[in-house]
């Protein structure tokens, strides 16, 4: 595959495994074993069983008539918001906890920003009876209270990250530090297509079920596996990686990634990494990174906590550099309007992350015959407070 990771863990110029030696045995064990483990038929069987009976897959591919009418094209929504726990994140946590069991690990750690990945991790730990610690920035704990309580209810320990900017990137730092201190019995479930190789590829594989289903479901409804467009939002980029995966080598399908541009890229209050970032190394991989001239990581801004990350997965940096994926960005304002619009037109309240993908519809010059699939990565229940504060509905 042209866009697949190479044997050194790189996607073109991006990727690799920039980790302290203390983590080398853990990451190396994963690198050597992950493909064998996830391709084993017993693993596949259990993974598929849980995705079907526990997560509720396949998720529908819903033709959205009123949204289609508005944008004068044929728009389908891939309903990842209907997954158990309310977002695509659980596809990955199911895969990784099965992998952790296979590796003989007893404890799980994770980082979380908005709390969706934390909840998805706490959920599978409860399912498997494993101890779970979730690191979360002190600032995020304050603004995502309901998810903190959900994690606690599920039996996880939520540890505040109090260093640096006290948000997602610092939670990731703390999780890595914990793993350095507990290398033998602990597996780190990273929530996006970031981190040292093999994480970006591993998470992509677990999320690729999204595009696998889209192909089948679109064939049933449109007599073709290939839409004209697939659109997804990108923070770290796990839902986009999953939605794009099986289309990467099919250049007829236009792939659109939507980043959060906060209050506008010109204001600097943005999380649009492909616009504001340059190549750098953070959290184990070389990728595009928002940083100062001196190489210090810059704190991004977005109304959506899930897109509020200073980098993107190395696979996306590569897809951006090669031009395979077209990158758009949407401001807070555009995303919130798109979220309200979907609620009114289709009766679906999307997560604010997802609303960024919807905001791209107005920017694409769609034709009447265009078939568009939007990955509806999460539901908006967790964002009610933000919708209420924003108030324009």
């Amino acid at each position: 595959m042209k866009y697949a990771v190479d044997e050194n863990g790189y996607y073109g110029n991006f990727g690799g495994s920039y980790i302290p030696e203390m983590l080398y045995p853990n990451v190396e064990e994963l690198r050597v074993r992950y493909l064998d483990i996830i391709n084993e038929s017993s693993f596949q069987k259990e993974f598929e069983y849980l995705l079907k009976q526990y997560v509720g897959r396949p998720t529908p591919l819903y033709f959205a008539p009123r949204l289609s009418e508005k944008y004068k094209s044929k728009i389908y929504l891939k309903r990842e918001d209907l997954c158990h726990t309310g977002a695509h994140k659980v596809n990955n946590t199911i895969g990784q906890i099965l992998l952790a069991k296979e590796l003989g690990k007893q404890k799980i750690i994770a980082e979380t920003g908005a709390g969706q990945h934390g909840v998805a991790t706490a959920t599978v730990c409860a399912l498997m009876g494993m101890e779970c610690i979730v690191y979360m920035g002190e600032v995020d704990i304050e603004r995502q209270r309901p998810n903190v309580e959900r994690m606690k209810l599920l039996g996880a320990k939520v540890v505040p990250a109090t260093s640096g900017s006290k948000t997602l990137k610092d939670a990731t730092n703390e999780a890595m530090r914990h793993w350095i201190s507990h290398p033998e019995d602990t597996h780190y479930i990273i929530g996006s297509v970031v981190g040292p190789h093999p994480y970006p590829d591993m998470v992509t594989q677990f999320q690729s079920v999204i595009s696998e289903e889209i192909m089948k479901q679109l064939e049933e409804q449109e007599d073709t596996q290939n839409p004209d467009y697939v659109i997804a939002c990108v923070g770290g980029g796990s839902n986009a990686a999953g939605a794009f995966y099986h289309y990467l080598n099919n250049e007829e399908v236009k792939l659109v990634a939507v980043e959060a541009s906060g209050k506008g890229n010109a204001t600097g209050q943005s999380a649009a990494t492909t616009v504001l970032g340059k190549p750098g190394v953070l959290h184990g991989s070389k990728t595009l990174l928002m940083q100062t001239d001196d190489g210090q990581v810059v704190e991004p801004y977005s109304i959506s906590a899930g897109l509020d990350y200073p980098g993107i997965g190395p696979i996306h940096a590569h897809l951006f550099e090669t031009g395979r994926v077209h990158f758009e960005s949407a401001t807070d304002q555009e995303a919130m309007e798109a979220g309200v619009e979907l609620s009114r037109l289709e009766g679906i309240i999307p997560a604010i992350e997802t609303a960024h993908a919807l905001a791209a519809l107005a920017k694409l010059n769609l034709k009447k015959s265009d078939v568009v699939v939007i990955n509806l990565s999460g539901r908006g229940d967790k964002d009610l407070d933000t919708y209420i504060k924003w108030g324009e509905y």
Binding site: G16, Y18, P20, M22, Y24, S163, I180, S181, P183, L289
Partner: protein, 258 residues
């Protein structure tokens, strides 16, 4: 001859290497501290390049990184400060920092400036061996800079041997699974690890770091290695210090117990 190699040629026991963060506690303290350390009898000096996301470091060094960055420390400022290093100071100097600031400075420019100001070696915790061998080694060697690898209790013998092959200075032994930070005493488990590595008959000397904080831990480390590295405990001393010269002299004396 590179000053690190010279040090290990001349001294094979009780080597004390001290780490501190550039620009901490105050932006202008970097050279002052280096000179006090030399006078006080430190054998090697490790200067940390502050970074926004130091994942291998515990709370003490993280905090010093944050303060140093707030003080305005950058690699450019650091190299300016080190411009006068070799006029007054002949102790081996190692820069310790993460990959990203070095990449942004420009790898070759960084190596060149290191050599110009008299830096002898580098410790880059998030630079893996494979990347070092592929792209960094050639430049480090061209500018006479020694790369120092870390090993931990989880590192396999096979990999330690590989690291030993690619090292021409010393191996940094991380005392236990964990980030940087002070401990009062090492336990049986750590001591067994020190002994195990000591018996491997490596070609390079070893310094033990992470958790050295006092004469007890220094002694425990130097019984099984050529020396030890102290960071967090020294940073704490700097944090509380009202008289850098006095406190640094007392600190080194207390560690060496002489």
């Amino acid at each position: 001859m590179n000053r690190i190699n010279k040090l290990f040629q001349e001294k094979t026991k009780d080597i004390l290497s001290v780490y501190y963060t550039a620009g901490y506690p105050n932006l202008g303290d970097t050279m002052t501290i280096a000179n006090h350390l030399e006078e006080a009898g430190a054998d090697m000096i490790e200067i940390g390049i502050p970074f926004s996301d130091p994942v291998a470091d515990g709370p003490t060094i993280q905090e010093s990184n944050t303060i140093a960055l707030n003080n305005g420390m950058t690699l450019k400022v650091l190299f300016d400060q080190l411009g006068e290093l070799r006029q007054t100071n002949s102790t081996p100097v190692i820069l310790m920092g993460y990959v990203n600031p070095i990449l942004q400075y420009g790898l070759e420019a960084f190596c060149k400036t290191c050599q110009q100001v008299g830096v002898d070696g580098l410790i880059i915790p998030d630079l893996p061996m494979a990347e070092y061998l592929n792209t960094y080694r050639e430049l480090f060697e061209a500018y006479d800079l020694r790369n120092v690898f870390l090993i931990s209790p989880q590192t396999s013998d096979e990999r330690i041997t590989e690291i030993d092959t690619h090292t021409d200075s010393f191996i940094y032994m991380v005392s236990s699974a964990g980030t940087t930070g002070a401990k009062d005493i090492f336990e049986e488990k750590q001591l067994n690890y020190f002994k195990r590595i000591n018996s491997m008959d490596l070609k390079n000397p070893r310094l033990i770091g992470f958790g050295i904080s006092n004469n007890t831990t220094f002694q425990q480390a130097t019984e099984n290695a050529q020396g030890a590295i102290i960071g967090s405990a020294f940073i704490k001393t700097l944090t509380d210090s009202k008289d850098l010269k006095l406190d640094i002299h007392q600190f080194v004396k207390k560690i060496k117990n002489n």
